[in-house]
Subunit: 145 residues, 2 copies
DNA sequence: GTCAGTGCAAACCTTTTGCACAGGT
DNA sequence: ACCTGTGCAAAAGGTTTGCACTGAC
């Protein structure tokens, strides 16, 4: 499925008249191979192990392209670092974030989603994206505050 | 009710051994008199009309105190500006944010809240705060994208 | 050969901080 | 008097951009 995402992105790149480059490939492969919620810095560190000549700015620029193409999603949690994660198409989830250990748990709840749509409709609002984050203590950290 | 918030904050200040100053008063009164979701810059502009000698840093420092005391709540929407709003105690709401005109609609939905708690419990998670934002087109902007 | 991509460093923007002075208690 | 608060300007931290060079097509 990594290959599918790569193809999807290649198609997007081509449609926009952009070019396939070694750096972009390295960045994308590294990104797709990594799980979780990566900051730009995290990803830059990892990419540098594969190709030490890749600069910070290129990672930013490529992540922006990945977001536009729909392969990556930008997350703005409260810690001041933009993080990126990759999703399968149609996939969607929200987050539980531990304010002690920083662990991030993903969840999906169709009931919440449909109530959200209901609220939006009531206000004549057409939702494009949403995000729901809950901050608190995870199972491990709970109790030993 | 503005006065109640001011008293509440005064109590917090005193408990921490801090001081009541003219600047803090000006900032707090201006903040409480304003509705909506203010950026630091918005508030600084407004306060300067009352007291032109108030500096940017003091607004930041005071807003941080207001957040700690519970009088203000920090919001991190996707536009990269931290915004603050004031809430009555026990009040809580979430946001619908128009990505065209920037309008912010507040809503509250107890059903969503309780489903959130249920999800958290399922993961052994103790929630301290959460935020739910939906981005899209408001009634006015919908259609004329 | 052309035009987009890259690396680097500088610029940017929001937020924080150090410092000397002002002011509340 | 003491010690916190303030304004200013500088620093910090994350992100973006200008530029000259590289490399894909």
């Amino acid at each position: 499925m990594v290959q599918e995402r790569i193809n999807e992105f290649a198609k997007y790149i081509e449609k926009k008249g952009l070019k396939t480059t070694q750096q972009r490939n390295d960045i994308i492969r590294t990104f797709l191979k990594s799980g979780g919620h990566l900051s730009v810095d995290d990803l830059h560190q990892k990419v540098k192990k594969v190709n030490p000549r890749v600069g910070y700015a290129t990672v930013y620029r490529t992540l922006k392209l990945l977001s536009e193409s729909g392969v990556a999603v930008e997350r703005h949690f409260d810690d001041g670092h933009t993080r990126y994660e990759h999703l399968e198409p149609e996939e969607h989830h929200d987050h539980l974030i531990c304010i002690k250990c920083g662990d991030i748990i993903e969840f999906e709840d169709k009931n919440i989603e449909s109530l959200q749509e209901k609220v939006a409709k009531k206000h004549g609002f057409r939702v494009v994206t949403h995000n729901l984050e809950m901050y608190g203590y995870c199972k491990k950290c709970n109790g030993n505050t």
